[in-house]
Symmetry: C2
Subunit: 326 residues, 2 copies
DNA sequence: GAGATCAATGCAATCGATTGCATGAGTTTC
DNA sequence: GAAACTCATGCAATCGATTGCATTGATCTC
């Protein structure tokens, strides 16, 4: 029996007679034969593998997304390659994966990458198939799965406002390239709409780590006039903030309310349980993966870039409380 | 110029004259040529890729390890493929990766896999190159990178003992297959050596999730006689435990001391800051990867299985306190 | 019954990098 | 000056799955 027949049994069974099909399947089981992916990739020019690039896999926010990506990709028969943060020359770096036929498409979770530098990259002449999923995306040409960061930030501030807070500070995430952070923009927008004072000394640039939350706490504790509530750009900073404020005898929510962003696993078990804007992380991972695979397999209806916006959800817990009027 | 020469420039430059070498390198830069990994893999029978299998990438314990794995593998020129928990038939599943030449070796972080079922798997006739790294490993045939779980558990109990606690409970992780959990064994050993009462109703089987920590809290809160200290099998359960005990008006460390295990990121910023046995997670990931790649590249001195044991470290923080005698 | 149609399968080229062997040019040795 | 040797490079086979085309044998049509 020729290799051609075996190949057809595995990829297009209807073109082979039933008898032969059975014999092949039997042999496959007995010998434990498995297709050589390298050979198949070489011939087909498709690796059935996607690459994910994220800054900090160790970060619980990203790792949950990655888990969803792996689950979805695996169920669709795709392998998942991971890289950490891409270096200074992402184009060169990614070429190593795409021109070299290791991966068919890219899931980009790293907002610090200048996407304009990616346009030049291509797999086999065509544009590099990719889906981006991160906080902000000024480039409308790129397929993306994002959440309603700006609106969610507004709702976070609204929640504090509704509790009676008027003196509201913010710890922002890092600003990407020249684009302002969307959560920061949402904060400013909400403050403006409520005609609240935006005091620049109440806005701190953080970097989404607990460390920067701690630093923020030390800063706020040293202020003469402090905000009564703080909107933190993510939960980890909120946790660092609350923990360190406590060292300064500033108790949350007694003395200050704090709202976070993301709803990472520990948020609900933190003390106090963290009020936060939940990001649908599993959905982000799953939908981004679905979208990318659909693009790769060519079953797209439109040629316009995909743009999915998921909704965040306010989780009210214990770290925010009505303004205690002194 | 022939393809052979180009190939030699890239893999074995000394066999090519300097003039030709320069011309090739020049052309490579100009055309943006990148080696086709699929073709190379097919010819070399080596994919320069490793596969990691871990239960729950979303778990902060594993994701930190994965981050280290990716960093180390990347710097050595290897790609990293990830899968989630392997299914019922790991052998069949892994064949899809190894016989098919997608990955050269396996980093196994899933302690729930019956390793005896893996012996049958092979890549190209030889045994499947793999390194295992998880809590307990009864199979001495397997290369492994582990921590001193048993001794660390003893030290955790010792710490509570030193603070004056005698009534010490435990929330254990799940027992794998028929093997007892090492942390549980360490707990029993320490209790025995101090001639302390091991009350079976103070030992709860958890599953390393915050949920099971919460369940444990509800259980302990309902007891007539409670332990004064609890050794939790990991930090997440400890956090769920402390948070939920508080709902029952049992404050940690005032009313009960809790020591965790792992030292995940939030541990030091939890309220109270968690006393815990730190696991060197970055090291686990890095060393396991190093070991696997060394095996793959054949630069091993001995043929015996590698067995690296890393030391845990006691981090004393606020969740444990001297016994408050009523 | 001769020619047309169809299904099942084999043949052989292809994907691109690697590598043992062969070739040819240049250099050394006695 | 001829044999021996070295070095750089090309030739061609190889890895294993896929697929257009050819072949074979069987069935159908008039």
């Amino acid at each position: 029996m020729s290799a051609a027949t075996v190949s057809r049994v595995l990829s297009n069974p209807s073109r082979v007679s039933e008898a032969t099909r059975d014999r092949v399947n039997q042999a496959v089981r007995e010998t434990g034969y498995a297709i050589n992916q390298a050979a198949r990739t070489l011939r087909m020019q498709r690796a059935k593998t996607i690459l994910t690039a994220m800054p900090g896999i160790g970060n619980p926010f990203y790792s949950t997304i990655l888990e969803a990506v792996v689950a979805e990709a695996t169920s669709r028969g795709y392998g998942v390659l991971v890289t950490g943060r891409l270096g200074d020359d992402p184009a060169r770096w990614l070429s190593d994966y795409f021109l070299s036929n290791r991966a068919d498409g890219l899931l980009l979770f790293d907002g610090f990458l200048d996407t304009r530098r990616l346009h030049g990259i291509s797999g086999q002449g065509a544009a590099l198939p990719m889906v981006a999923a991160y906080d902000e995306l000024p480039d409308p040409q790129i397929n993306s799965v994002i959440t309603d960061n700006l609106q969610a930030a507004e709702r976070a501030v609204q929640h504090l406002y509704d509790l009676g807070h008027r003196r509201i500070g913010h710890i922002s995430g890092p600003s990407r390239n020249t684009f302002p952070n969307e959560r920061l923009v949402g904060y400013r927008k909400a403050m403006f709409e409520h005609r609240l004072d935006v005091r620049e000394d109440w806005i701190l640039a953080g970097d989404y780590t607990m460390e920067s939350g701690k630093a923020a706490a030390d800063y706020f504790a040293g202020l003469k006039e402090r905000p009564t509530a703080i909107f933190s750009g993510n939960d980890e900073m909120a946790i660092g903030l609350i923990a360190t404020l406590r060292r300064h005898d500033i108790e949350c929510p007694r003395d200050i309310s704090v709202i976070g962003f993301d709803d990472i696993g520990v948020a609900q078990n933190y003390a106090p349980a963290l009020t936060t804007m939940r990001q649908p992380r599993e959905q982000i991972g799953r939908i981004a993966t679905e979208t990318l695979i659909n693009i790769l397999e060519g079953n797209r209806t439109s040629l316009d870039p995909v743009r999915v916006v998921l909704r965040s959800e306010l989780m009210v817990r214990e770290s925010t409380a009505p303004l205690h009027r002194p």
